[in-house]
Symmetry: C2
Subunit: 284 residues, 2 copies
């Protein structure tokens, strides 16, 4: 018989969150999400549960980080299912604020990170990172957690948030968590459910392209342009895949490399119709 899962406490206002945190056992681990929770999120919550006495999950579809209104509106929402996932993975409380509790009346503050937000996702999605850093600064501040868990799948986002937290003196430790994949290699994403069956069948090409470049790296190749070309060639063989960028960059600055003399980050964004997928592979 399956063990019954305790549902976490749900809070919806800044004030109720403050009260709940005032009584929470320390340390607190934070997982910020936009809902549509999948096994990738569950793995973050389980990691937070392993390290902390209290696990706070936030569910907020942040309008400020979508650069296309249609993407914001199409973003999947199912609160009851999300709360069950949180509980099953070990969350103690879930913060599900309405927009006005995150951005109160008259809100007009933004948090911006500079050079790290310019290439890759930043170049493809104007305003995206300013939306992310603003909401994450708010959530980190409201939570006051000892640790916050972010997925390596959004590698640039992880770097940007780490930079922001360090710059602003936010004492929360930013913990990177490994990518969770489907058996065929596709990285879990809330957007995967929007793929048609044909697109879904084609989507593992991202992982294959990263693996092909990694194979050349493992074989000793240190020419970044060859690694990028290897990814491009693999992607080009898949007619449903429309690559937006492929990158072989310095993993600290995200500047494109010529030759690899240390660690590097392979990454890409690929469109399948209206659905945009990203993936990456650190080399070191």
């Amino acid at each position: 018989m399956a063990r019954p899962v305790a549902l976490p406490q749900v809070v919806r206002t800044r004030a109720d969150l403050r009260d709940a945190l005032a009584e929470a056992r320390r340390p607190v681990g934070l997982v910020t999400t936009m809902g549509a929770l999948h096994e990738g999120h569950a793995s973050l919550i389980r990691m937070a549960h392993a390290d902390n006495a209290t696990v706070l999950v936030t569910i907020f579809v942040n309008p400020r980080q979508f650069n296309e209104r249609s993407d914001f509106e199409a973003y999947p929402r199912d609160e009851a299912a999300d709360v069950r996932v949180c509980g099953a993975a070990g969350a103690t409380m879930v913060f599900i604020p309405p927009v006005e509790e995150v951005y109160p009346d008259g809100f007009q503050t933004s948090v911006r990170v500079g050079a790290l937000t310019e290439p890759l996702e930043g170049a493809s999605r104007p305003g995206h990172f300013e939306g992310v850093t603003t909401v994450v600064a708010i959530l980190l501040t409201l939570a006051g957690a000892e640790r916050a868990y972010f997925g390596q799948k959004d590698a640039q986002q992880l770097l940007v948030i780490r930079r922001m937290a360090a710059d602003l003196g936010i004492s929360t430790d930013i913990v990177a968590c490994p990518i969770v994949r489907e058996p065929d290699g596709l990285a879990l994403s809330s957007r995967n459910v929007r793929l048609t069956p044909q697109q879904r069948a084609a989507a593992p090409v991202l992982r294959r392209a990263l693996s092909a470049a990694r194979a050349r790296y493992d074989a000793g190749d240190r020419d970044a342009e060859i690694l990028r070309a290897t990814m491009q060639v693999t992607l080009a063989a898949e007619p449903l895949a429309a690559p937006e960028y492929v990158s072989c960059a310095d993993p600290a600055t995200l500047r494109e490399l010529d030759r690899l003399t240390g660690p590097a980050l392979l990454s890409m964004a690929v469109r399948f119709g209206a659905v945009r997928l990203i993936d990456n592979e650190p080399l070191s």
Copy 2:
């Protein structure tokens, strides 16, 4: 015999500040300054001392909030004298960081407040408020104080910081403190020492202009243009004074008013040679 004044503990790094605060009695009151402490700052420190078990003063001449390099370089600095003022007014600890402890290597984050920063000081000093909000966000975050004390003299700065703290979920209570004036009405400012004797003699014209407008308000005048003109006329009678702006604005939004139907904020910036002075008077 004067009572000997205990010198406060001086800390210079984020890490030492964190350690000192971990042992500090609560609540903590914060006063952020750029040094060159005068009786206005001392009044903030005394107010913090009256309300809190620990008083933290920060002294940091913030290069990011000067829009003129010459103003930054001319800004007066005397650490030993400042620490004595802090101690005499009741400070427990003083944070005097070098630039790299406020803006660590690779720093690239900025905090910006929108519409409230556009008129008045924001229009006259491009980039000024972004420098202020960025450094104050960092200092509020590092301090984690229950209360922070800001002078009403920088009325727009006070509004902007209050807005930023509310927007970002910073739980520190922002406390407004009254303007401290010389006997002749000149508001205390670290820049006053840079006035020539002739300019110093002329500088109380700011206060006289505000008082003239207040007298019309007290007599029942509710036409904002007349109040602004009253200030302009008083300032125009002083040949050493070069007004930059005079304002009669909504005290919540800082938009210029036509007619006063509720509270208002009279404010002005006036140059005396290279020295720029501001003053204001709330009407309610």
